[in-house]
Amino acid sequence: MSVHSFQEHFDNLIDRDVTIEPKDWMPDDYRKTLIRQISQHAHSEIIGMLPEGNWITRAPSLRRKAVLLAKVQDEAGHGLYLYSAAETLGISRDEMYNQLHTGKAKYSSIFNYPTLTWADMGAIGWLVDGAAIMNQVPLCRTSYGPYARAMVRVCKEESFHQRQGFEIMLTLSKGTDIQRKLAQDAFNRWWWPSLMMFGPPDAESPNTEQSVRWRIKRFTNDELRQKFVDVTVEQARVLGLEMPDKDIKWNEERGHYDFGTINWSEFYNVVKGNGPCNKQRIEARRKAWDEGKWVRDAAMAHAAKRKARQSEVKAA
């Protein structure tokens, strides 16, 4: 087949909603876009372990500690599936780590915000995982097979995390005055960064059109953001929390909630590295990687020795 007919075959699969598999021919840009997106997603899971990991040793009850520990462990698992999915596109995990540690690869900016109180464990589960699910559920039907299949598992666990987060918020909101204050404070701090998780407005999102065409993306940033606002306003009511945005108002005509202006200059600054914890997050990952080098070297050396001994036994 000529390149032209490869392209036709690929387009045809996309049009018929058939998944693309690792051995199928795919356009270079499709491969690059996927590597970028999947590795970013994997990095977000791994970096995302840090803000919540910050509270494991301080969780207020043994049950909460166990649930949080299991949740952060799930995130490591998600990172693992996603790195594996990206590897099917011809990039190694070490190379992806290297891109993360050198700042070449991005990850979800939300994790550059600090977790200051226990209530942040609730707010992150409720809002951040809630926003992540909205972004991710459509990816269960994305065109690249290994990514779509990884996302099915990820989404199941994420929705569990979201419920756990909401349950923390609910417990706080039913608690004492100081607990309600903790919940409101966390809501105030995480609300706007959560809205930013859907990415820049459609008008400023250069990759959206192509990604929608490839079914790497199923909805635009603004569509998903609106859906998130609509759902969250109702949930905040259940919690008895005040919306951190004075401009929230039901718009009868649109059938959606209107909301205030997002501070995009803050968003771009956090993406650029000026968020409150960008340096700490990367530093923590780099440190784990650098200090783990001798451990990985030892494991490799030992495996090689074993293999050599086994072949000696066989030869004898």
Partner: protein, 271 residues
């Protein structure tokens, strides 16, 4: 009543679970981060079962027994107010001198080699200990032992494999694990010291005679160290002790300050 005995086992599980959970998100290999967190969750799960059982025994005790159980002011206040203790009160409201955990377990992670060596010593102990405790005439302890034994068998395999991998890996890993094995050796006598709680539990048929498991522990440690091309520290070395009596190293205070901070700062709330 096996309150003191239960508490010691609860404290061991809680403190090692805490230490291992500090690794979460910072492991040298993603797969090992997951494995270690699994182990931390096993210890934490056991800590919860044991803390619940300790609370149950405390709640059923006489006023006099309650008074002599803990030095904790917070627990005394709850008791005076007629409240029933929960697993969280047991974990979060006692100070260091009420903690009966082994000194070995509160030692800091330092690096992968120290973490592996500490786990190796403890998992080996646990394996033989729970193999015996499952025959306890205290049915709750026996049930916890039965469940734990499955987990501990896996823990022991994991830590033994890492001792071998590091010992018989590179020169650097060999030196690091040998150093950790040597430095933590001083804490490996305490697990076998029979104190009052042990003697009472053994006399009633609830506990394990530690003298029975010490030779098994020593043989197993020697076997793995040999496979790992490592040197076993000399027998008869000076051994630290005190944890089982509530006299700890300086590390425990910081663990508790961190672990208990929410319950201490916002007392009496549901989380």
């Amino acid at each position: 009543m096996n309150l003191a005995y239960t508490l010691r086992l609860a404290d061991d599980a809680l403190i090692i679970g805490h230490r291992l959970s500090e690794w979460c998100g910072h492991g040298p290999i993603l797969e090992q981060d997951i494995a270690l967190t699994n182990t931390a969750l096993d210890h934490l799960g056991r800590a919860r079962s044991l803390c619940q059982y300790a609370a149950e025994q405390y709640n059923a005790a006489t006023a006099e027994e309650k008074k002599n159980s803990f030095s904790s002011v917070a627990i005394q206040q709850l008791t005076e107010a007629g409240k029933q203790l929960t697993e969280d009160d047991i974990a979060y409201l006692r100070d260091g001198w009420d903690y009966r955990s082994l000194l070995l377990l509160e030692q800091p992670n330092i690096d992968w080699a120290f973490t592996v060596a500490r786990a190796f010593y403890y998992d080996t102990f646990n394996y033989y200990f729970f193999s015996h405790l499952k025959n306890s005439n205290d049915t709750t302890l026996a049930a916890i032992a039965e469940k734990s034994l499955k987990e501990v068998t896996y823990h022991l395999r994991w830590s033994s494999e890492w001792v071998v991998r590091l010992g018989d890996g590179t020169d650097e890993s060999h030196n690091r694990i040998q150093q950790a094995i040597n430095e933590l050796w001083q804490y490996t006598g305490e697990p076998f010291v029979m104190n009052d709680a042990d003697n009472v539990a053994v006399s009633t048929g609830a506990g394990v005679n530690l003298a029975d498991i010490q030779p098994l522990w020593t043989a197993r440690i020697a076997e793995i160290l040999q496979e790992a091309t490592l040197t076993m520290p000399p027998a008869g070395s000076w051994m630290q002790q005190g944890g089982k009596e509530g006299r700890h190293t300086e590390h425990l205070g910081y663990i508790l300050a961190e672990m208990q901070y929410m319950q201490r700062t916002y007392p009496g709330m549901e989380w």
